[in-house]
Amino acid sequence: MKKNVFKNFDFILLGIVLILIAFGLLNIYSASFTFNTPGLPFYLKQLCWALAGLGLIAAIYNLNNEIFLNYSYYYYLFNIILLVLLLVLRVSTKGSSRWLSLGPFMMQPSEFMKFAVILALSRYLMDKEKKLKGFADLVIPIGIVLVPFFLVLKQPDLGTALAFIPIFFISVYLCDLPYRYLFYLITPFLSLLLFKFPALWFSFMVLLALIIYFNKTSRIDAWIVIISSILSGIGQPLLWNFLKDYQKKRIMIFLNPELDPLGSGYSVIQSKIAVGSGQFFGKGWLHGSQNRLNFIPEHHTDFIFSVIGEEWGFVGGFLLLILFFILIIRILDIALQAKNKFSTLVASGISVIFVFHIVVNIGMSMGVAPVVGVPLPFLSYGGSYLLNFLIMIGVLEKIKDEG
């Protein structure tokens, strides 16, 4: 057995991850070499986290095959408890309580929650003998997502909370939830968005009624859809009030960054300038003026892509996206080859988490997605998210190994 330990090991996957981490270290160095922070510089801290993460991959690779299947719910519950604890303790930094202090380290339980949601959802949907036919079958999956969603939203961390949503959709989609139900699930949101335009909203509601009428939908589900859509439409102003001021502002400024060129829109505009000014070949490592002169806040964490775009140009950005794309394809390939439904669901969930982070983060840096603060996998500075992503890589290798 020892001989064949790496027989199925996906070296391409790990290789890409290592390249990304190395590239990340270069950029974190560039982003922070002008900083005057006490203690270890950011790139060295990141290196420590990466090494710890690689250790975790090795550990996971040596775990029993069944362990994730068996401990899915426990892992989920453990993370939920951490999130609740966090809200109770209210350890607050930077206006939100995302961090849990563990001795010398600060950890972000919401990051680990991402994988926990994947595990719990996959575990539940795998168990289901019957197919998903109606809302009744969705109560628990929705619950699995919404509990952490609200806990994280309360911190408040809109970006991380939103990350749970696509996991849910890909999981129920793969488990054959009828397409019309996927539509029903988003009707309350569409209703919410359209309520401002009465004519549109009315036509939308008529269309919805027709779809329900011509598709086999149980009477209860039909009422649920109709009533929830109407309620969310009418309740839209209330829901708007539920958002924090800074979140409202971010949404509005995302729609039009020029609204506030020196306030909330500032980062987006500066980040766009940084990325755009990189042109084809970039300004060279350590030579991005936008980066070096600190025109972009958080450019070593959430806005790391602005550094990459500025210093490595289109060449660097394009190659990075290609690397990410290969990574995603590898993950989906693992999903396709997994030996059971649970593993397929887990791998697919991981792929969608990756895509969500990449699209939202890079989109945000280019000014086409709201500034919600999600890291760019393996490139942004940060310990908790990096560990979580490396754990997921470890699990993928394990799935590949068992497949």
């Binding site: 793969l174 060129p261 025109f295 950005g317 030996k339 895509v355």
Partner: protein, 605 residues
């Protein structure tokens, strides 16, 4: 190893679905790549410009402005340093209301000023903006004591223009920040934020005074902090002006006009140098330094005494009897025998149905030209005027440059007025001969004309700057006197009128007796310019409201031989020229010619 394998163990339906997921992800990545290409390859140049604009600032290093000196190199304008309060809105964030309250309480900052800066906070939040210029020592202490309740306020040491003497305000002008139109003017070569002269010498010689700005191209970080200097160019100090003014004379004239409205012009009749040019009331030119506040400006422009008006070159007045010597020179050049005419003055002179009067009710009896000037007899000149005719009178005035701006080297000089009616009535002509009616002149014009009387007929362009010298004492430019024209009247005519003017001051019964200085041979003529018809008696004169009282003039030169100073004094609504203007001339001449050897040769009769 292929990136994606086709054989799979999962059910075909899920496989199909995963493949459509791959397809959707593919689309996401393609969109990202295209948008990245759009930003970097299509819009890249624009963003590169913006990145450069973000980080590169051009800081102007202002050149110290040149000094303005009087003829003895005493300072008229210099540079000093002062403290100014600056505000950085970013540092005052969320505390604006409190800040505004404290500022108005502690410093009397004008609300409008603060509101304007507050409105612009989003445009320049990190840049400090001027709030209060040139604060006093007391205010500096107040600031230091209350620093903590004044977020975003900082104090800076700045070079400031300084005018040691207030009396020169009308000559010197002031400085203000260049406006948009001047910045756009390519010949101007001004940089944003530069100070440019407004009015007076500061404006006329701005190109010499301001020197050349140096510039420093610096790189700044997101907070506007300087990170490094990219390029540097040293400033060139402004050049100094040496004027023809005599600060002592100027200050004395200013002092003598204190609490009166009026003007003093002193010229060197031999070349047109301006020795003193005073307008009263004055204002403090230092209030304009660093930008005049709204309140101060309103106070200045709403003052009924018009302190901003430079009466010496902009005030246009009827010259009155000071014109009699001018008319006389003209009449003599026409016919020297005009000096011998005897005209009977009975105190009244009817022309058609109107009666014109002499100032002396009972009349002067039979007078010739010399006595008519000495006593300032009107009737003689009415008759002389009628004899010469309007056309000749007007030509005489024009010969002496009346009705023309002489082109003094500061702006806003007025040309006075000679009205050429097509239809003249004899009454108008008679009035013209005594400097009333359709003629207006500035004190400067009168001084130019009297200089011509003094020097035998040369009209010089009056000028105030003799030399421009660089900061290291190299002469950059010298201004020579400019002869505008030579009056084509015979020297005998001038000589004769000069002797009459000497008599008017030194002869018995002369109206200018109050300007007499033994041994200095002051020659001059009084003028009492009527604004309304001459009062019938003293009673009526006393009842005349102050703003309708006549203007008092005195125009003179001294010494008679080889004159060194020509003086014109105007006191608005001062009444008799001989009473209120002549004594001022006496003081000024005594001061200016204090070292002049006295000469007692001339006989007083």
């Amino acid at each position: 190893m292929p990136f994606i394998s086709l054989q799979t163990s999962i059910n075909p339906r899920m496989k199909e679905k995963l493949q459509s997921v791959i397809f959707v992800f593919c689309i996401f990545f393609i969109i990202l790549i295209f948008y990245l290409a759009y930003l970097q390859l299509i819009k890249g140049k624009d963003f590169l410009e913006q990145a450069k604009y973000n980080r590169v600032r051009i800081a102007y290093i202002r050149a110290p402005r040149g000094l303005i000196l009087d003829r003895n190199h005493k300072l008229l304008a210099s540079n000093s340093v002062g403290y100014s309060l600056y505000i950085t809105m970013e540092d005052a964030k969320n505390k604006e209301a409190e800040l505004k309250k404290n500022l108005t309480k502690l410093f009397d900052v004008e609300k409008e000023n603060f509101d304007l800066i507050y409105k612009n906070r989003m445009i320049r939040p990190y840049q400090s903006q001027l709030l209060l210029k040139n604060i006093s020592k007391k205010q500096l202490i107040i600031f230091e004591e209350n620093k903590n309740s004044l977020p975003g306020i900082s104090v800076r040491l700045e070079p400031l223009r300084f005018y040691p003497s207030e009396g020169i305000c009308h000559i010197i002008g002031y400085l203000s920040e260049v406006n948009e139109s001047k910045l756009k003017d390519p010949s101007g070569n001004y940089d944003p934020g530069d100070l440019a002269g407004q009015g007076g010498l500061e404006q006329a010689y701005d190109n010499y005074l301001r020197g050349g700005n140096g510039r420093e191209e610096i790189e700044v970080d997101a907070w506007g902090r300087k990170t490094k200097v990219l390029a540097m160019e040293d400033p060139v100090k402004g050049a100094n002006l040496v004027t023809t003014l005599d600060l002592g004379l100027q200050a004395l004239a200013e002092d003598l006009l204190k609490n009166r409205k009026g003007a003093v012009v002193a010229l060197n009749p031999a070349n047109g140098e301006v020795l003193a040019l005073v307008s009263s009331p004055k204002y403090d030119p230092n209030i304009f330094i660093g930008g005049v506040t709204v309140r101060e400006w309103k106070k200045l422009i709403n003052n009924p005494d018009l302190p901003l008006l430079n009466r010496a070159i902009q005030g246009q007045y009827p010259p009155g009897s000071t014109m009699k010597p001018i008319v006389s020179v003209g009449a003599l050049s026409d016919d020297m025998d005009n000096a011998k005419i005897l005209n009977e003055c009975t105190g009244e002179f009817p022309i058609k149905d109107k009666v014109f009067r002499c100032w002396k009710k009972d009349g002067h009896g039979k007078v010739d030209m010399g006595h008519a000037i000495r006593y300032s007899c009107n009737i003689f000149f009415y008759k002389l005027g009628l004899k010469l005719g309007a056309k000749k009178l007007i030509n005489i005035f024009k010969e002496f440059n009346f009705g023309n701006a002489a082109g003094i080297d500061i702006y806003t000089e007025k040309a006075g007025l000679i009205s050429e009616h097509s239809q003249w009535f004899p009454g108008n002509t008679a009035q013209l001969a005594i400097g009333q009616g359709y003629i207006l002149a500035t004190p400067l014009q009168l001084a130019i004309a009297y200089s011509a009387l003094a020097n035998g007929g040369t009209i010089y362009r009056p000028f105030m700057v003799s030399k421009v010298i660089s900061y290291d004492n190299k002469i950059l430019k010298e201004f020579a006197p400019v002869e505008l024209k030579k009056i084509d009247f015979p020297p005998e005519a001038f000589n004769m009128v000069r002797s009459y003017l000497w008599q008017a001051v030194n002869g018995s019964g002369g109206t200018g007796v109050r300007a007499r200085i033994p041994g200095l041979d002051v020659s001059g003529k009084t003028g009492t310019a009527q604004l309304v018809a001459r009062p019938m008696d003293e009673e009526e004169e006393k009842r005349l409201p102050a703003q309708l009282r006549p203007h008092a003039w005195f125009a003179c030169f001294a010494p008679m031989k080889n004159p060194k100073i020509c003086l014109v004094i105007l006191v608005e609504h001062g009444g008799e020229g001989g009473t209120s203007a002549a004594p001022i001339a006496k003081e000024l001449i005594s001061y200016y010619l204090k070292d002049e050897p006295r000469n007692f040769d001339m006989e007083i009769n």
